[in-house]
Assembly symmetry: C2
Homo-oligomer: 420 residues x 2
């Protein structure tokens, strides 16, 4: 990679700069002069263009050498684009159609050209607007199961997983963001933090004084950093999913790294629970969204059950990696032992997931990166009331992650907290 040659794209230069790229021409038409571009990036990090031509459109995503939200004072490696590209092609292979098709990748320009998802919106926007999407939970559960199972020693060759582990370990700068901003900063008065103040001040102080809570957060940070079971999406919240009706696609895996299976699943469930607690900030009259509340909790629960069902299916049909080989179990007439191993593995993933779920609910309210579910509630009193419920539920999930049995229990806790 020639870093000197890197130049950010602009709507004016993009057609000329990509005009000779065959896969782009194939999708847009062969006359770059007829292409037009609009920059649509609303994330924190990158440039994102919709590049349109007579024949169709593509998305062009280019990394900037700094955090877009903050500016050049916070540098961030262009190489994150390389990890995003590598994650996208693996996710596509492991769960066909689950991510945007990659048409072209230019490592030097930190640039990915991928499929344009017509009329799709960010899932988080639907959850704020109160829009239901049939099949969403099944898509998300299956996506987690397939990508997490197939990126692990349950499915890959041992050398293949280690090669990928090494490749993605170089994504250290983005992992550092997660390690710091998710697991540590929310639990002390770190400079980048903010929260709805003064409404939440007392509760925030209570959480930051809770040493048991902080021990759990650090234990889970150790699990995130060291337990390199599988290739994670790494940032699988409801802002990383695009939807249109019953169609759903996962995007933006630039935080991809090897980590524990429970991380993606737990983060995802957390974002549904936060969407649930945010509803009273969005409904026109108290109770107006009760039906939608139920739908959200149903999705959260079904994300887990769909994940577990698909994981079990893959366990029984694709367990060809070095762990729990059939030679020890099925081939010895002990199929129940293989099922016992599945039960235990799923239980371990569940316990991690419940802990990560609680942490994600905290960091979105106490840390740097908040989410629109709460941020779009203009009245700070109303917002703080929603956020406080999520904070309390998050604490309970973190501390009781080993005792909590299933999603029914979490759903009941969420309802209890929301009614308080």
């Amino acid at each position: 990679m020639d870093a000197a040659a890197y130049r950010p794209l602009t709507p004016e230069t993009i057609a000329a700069r990509l005009g000779a790229v065959a896969p782009v021409r194939a999708r847009l038409g062969d006359d770059p002069a007829a292409w037009s571009a609009v920059e649509v990036g609303d994330g924190n990090l990158n440039l994102v263009f919709v590049l349109a031509g007579p024949r169709g459109s593509v998305i062009v995503k280019q990394a900037l050498p700094y955090v877009r939200l903050v500016g050049e004072s916070w540098p961030l490696p262009l190489e994150r684009s390389w990890f995003e590209y590598n994650a996208l092609i693996r996710q596509a292979a492991r769960d066909a159609g689950s991510v945007p098709e990659v048409h072209h990748f230019d490592r030097g320009q930190a640039l990915i050209v991928m499929a344009y998802l017509e009329d799709h919106v960010i899932l988080r926007r639907s959850l704020i607007a109160g829009v239901e999407h049939p099949g969403l939970a099944r898509f998300l559960g299956a996506f987690c199961a397939r990508t997490l199972f197939r990126g692990s020693d349950l499915a890959m060759t041992a050398a293949g997983r280690k090669a990928d582990l090494a490749l993605f370990a170089a994504n250290a700068a983005l992992a550092d963001i997660t390690e710091s901003l998710v697991f540590t900063d929310p639990y002390w008065d770190a400079p980048l933090n903010r929260h709805t103040s003064p409404q939440l001040d007392a509760l925030v102080a209570e959480l930051r004084a809770d040493s048991e809570l902080k021990l759990v957060a650090q234990e889970l940070k150790g699990v995130f950093a060291a337990n390199a079971e599988t290739l994670l999406h790494g940032d699988l919240h409801t802002g990383s999913v695009m939807v249109r009706g019953a169609s759903a696609v996962a995007i933006d895996p630039e935080f991809a790294i090897y980590g524990p299976m429970g991380f993606d699943v737990g983060m995802l469930i957390a974002n549904f629970l936060m969407a649930f607690h945010a509803q009273s900030g969005h409904e026109d009259a108290p109770g107006a969204r009760d039906g939608y509340r139920g739908w959200i909790l149903g999705v959260a629960a079904e994300v887990w059950t769909s994940f577990a069902a698909e994981f079990a299916h893959l366990w029984r049909t694709e367990r060809r990696g070095m762990l729990y080989p059939a030679a020890l179990f099925e081939d010895q007439g002990q199929p129940l032992a293989a099922e016992a191993a599945l039960t235990r593995r799923l239980r371990a993933v569940w316990t991690d997931a419940v802990g990560f779920c609680g942490i994600e609910m905290h960091r979105r309210i106490l840390g740097l990166a908040h989410n629109a579910d709460f941020e779009t509630i203009a009245d700070p009193d109303r917002r703080a009331a929603c956020e406080a419920r999520a904070l309390r539920l998050g604490r309970q999930l973190m501390k009781d992650r080993r005792a909590i049995r299933d999603m029914d229990e979490i759903v009941a806790l969420a309802r209890l907290v929301d009614a308080a």
Copy 2:
């Protein structure tokens, strides 16, 4: 690395080939014609020469492109020498004087020139001969604590640990040996296995039919493969320690890889427990070695207590990595919380270590690589009796790893089994 240029050394060519290497001349003298070499490799994998000159001696260790024990039919990457070199320089930095000083490394020749340890012997030979070494347990416990703590996210920068994680993940071929030969093959009738037969046949069948035991082995295999906490020695048995009186040095870290802290500690303790159970095969008359038995068990126990004490010291004085930062605990007036975290971390390491300990005792009796403690017992009935005790203790340790509190309990179990 130019693989084509690789040539194995011979006693005849070694002086000419290393004669121009300044650090070698500095130690042996400037006239290579006055140097002499003898090949002393007694391990399974490599060439090892003592190269002597008028001024002194050095050890020259060169990898072969296959497993020496088996021959060219079992290829093994020369690159293992690169990982051994990288492990040696890290271990030297993390525990000064604990490993042979590296004088010279040639990656293309897969060749390490290191300090010659005059009059040292392999610890396992001492344990068979009944020789005590004062201070041994303290050396081994401190070596484990310093290398394991200082190679982890408790001490390193997050990016630094990930860079080392990636480097050593490429040591996949040697990890594959551990993953297959330690964790899986002993538990089914794998082609490379052997055991003392027919004496142990019934017990071996019992173990291989024990599905709970196999589930534990595979769970621990998953921990070994994925829980990349720290840089392991990776093969820390009593054949990887050289001793002379009260001096001890750890050697041969070519299996180095990131893994769980409990692995090195557990494997080490296992080898003392096997040495203990082998004593009745070596003593001249029953009970003749009772004092030595006690010394061995004392060493096994003190390996753990020394490890735990040094680990606690480092936790309190060198915890500067990203995990359990002082900002969350000590700086908030919660020093007890940091101690609670230490207690829990040590407990988790202990639980893993007890499990790995049991597995190591199994694979040395059921798998491919046996150890001299038992192998030098010529009478197969006598040998099998010793081995059966180790197998039974190993099973108990694996299954009860979460319940067993401390080394006193393990020592009591070992004595109970040995008296049966």
